[in-house]
């Protein structure tokens, strides 16, 4: 099992994702942003950092990197793609996920642990969690304030595509627990096909107890399980929904 970890100039979390993938029992394959192929890897991680310095807007320049062409094709084919932090921003800019990540409500960079409620456990990214489980991991971003217009937001909610929501330690998703102003306290979402995940907090920084939390590891383990188990039929179904979403 080989999982591609993309490195853009300015990626900072590629090594962290690399170690997370290995901790979940798969092989991490570093892929430079100028490459034009994913080299037959089984899933893709777009890591955090400041690709191209986040100049203009986070992710705005990175989405035009050569590697993004095969990444978009890979995603449209129903294969599994995860974007973390800056990676989430890049996937939004690339049109693989709806909405945008605006400047935090505090107008400051924020770096601290947060609690998240896992909204669903029947997805390729969350099968190792329990529904309603509260998990802790660090977040570190200046632009994590999730925004989508009303229609897109309603669609996300009605289709159950919000996978992670900021909450308090008891799992109540209150406004006080909302670190950055995200609409509906959204921390992580999937696309129409359910095969592309974006989330702002860092599971890659919560993979062993010495770091304060290992709540991020099940996400990578779920991903690895899913690649093993994914049937052609599931991929075709995801592909169909992803294409339908694109057409809209």
């Amino acid at each position: 099992m080989r999982i591609a970890v993309i490195t853009f100039p300015g990626s900072n979390c590629d090594q962290d994702c690399h170690r997370s993938v290995e901790a979940a029992g798969a092989t991490a394959v570093p892929v430079w942003h100028r490459e034009i192929s994913l080299g037959g890897t089984d899933a893709v991680i777009v890591p955090g950092g400041f690709a191209h310095g986040d100049y203009l807007r986070p992710g705005a320049i990175a989405r035009f990197s050569p590697i993004m062409t095969p990444v978009v094709e890979f995603a449209r084919a129903g294969r599994l793609v995860v974007g973390i932090c800056n990676g989430f921003q890049i996937l939004c800019e690339a049109g693989l996920l709806p909405g945008a990540l605006l400047r935090n409500r505090s107008l400051r960079f924020q770096s601290h642990d947060c609690a998240l409620r896992v909204e669903r456990s029947d997805t390729p990214f969350t099968s190792r969690y329990r529904e309603g489980q509260v998990i802790r991991m660090p977040l570190a971003h200046a632009d994590g304030n999730y925004y989508a217009d009303r229609g897109a937001l309603e669609e996300l909610e009605s289709e159950g595509r919000v996978l992670f929501r900021y909450s308090d330690a008891e799992g109540e998703s209150t406004e006080e627990a909302n670190p950055n102003g995200s609409l509906n306290r959204i921390a992580g979402i999937v696309n129409e096909g359910g095969n592309v995940l974006g989330l702002m907090p860092h599971p890659d920084r919560a993979i062993d107890l010495a770091l304060g939390s290992q709540d991020g590891l099940p996400l990578f383990e779920s991903l690895v399980d899913s690649v093993h188990q994914r049937t052609p039929a599931q991929m075709a179904a995801a592909e169909g929904r992803a294409l339908a979403g694109t057409a809209r």
């Binding site: 203009l56 705005a60 320049i61 800019e93 909405g99 945008a100 409500r105 107008l107 925004y147 102003g181």
Partner: protein, 85 residues
């Protein structure tokens, strides 16, 4: 071919929460500028574009706005040709 000076203004879409604008509004009020009713913060991008006409220059820049310079989800833009460089 001439070189045109083109100004792009990228602004948050109406109704979009603009915390930076809010903070500046608050600061202005505390300095006594009570008359300021609203503040929205965008950005200006200045380009020099080689084109055979101002219209061509504007058209190319508008295209680049849709693709890169503005995020259609959250931002509007205006393109103005400010004359020849």
């Amino acid at each position: 071919m001439s070189r045109f000076r083109v100004e792009v203004l990228v602004t948050p879409r109406p109704g979009l929460l603009d915390p930076e604008g809010g903070a500046i509004h608050h600061a202005l009020a505390s300095l006594g500028y009570d008359e300021v009713a609203e503040v929205r913060v965008g950005k200006a991008i200045y380009l020099e574009v080689a084109a055979d006409s101002a219209a061509t220059a504007a058209a190319r820049v508008e295209e680049s706005c849709r693709r890169l310079l503005a995020n259609p989800v959250t931002e509007d833009f205006t393109v103005t040709v400010r004359g020849e460089a």
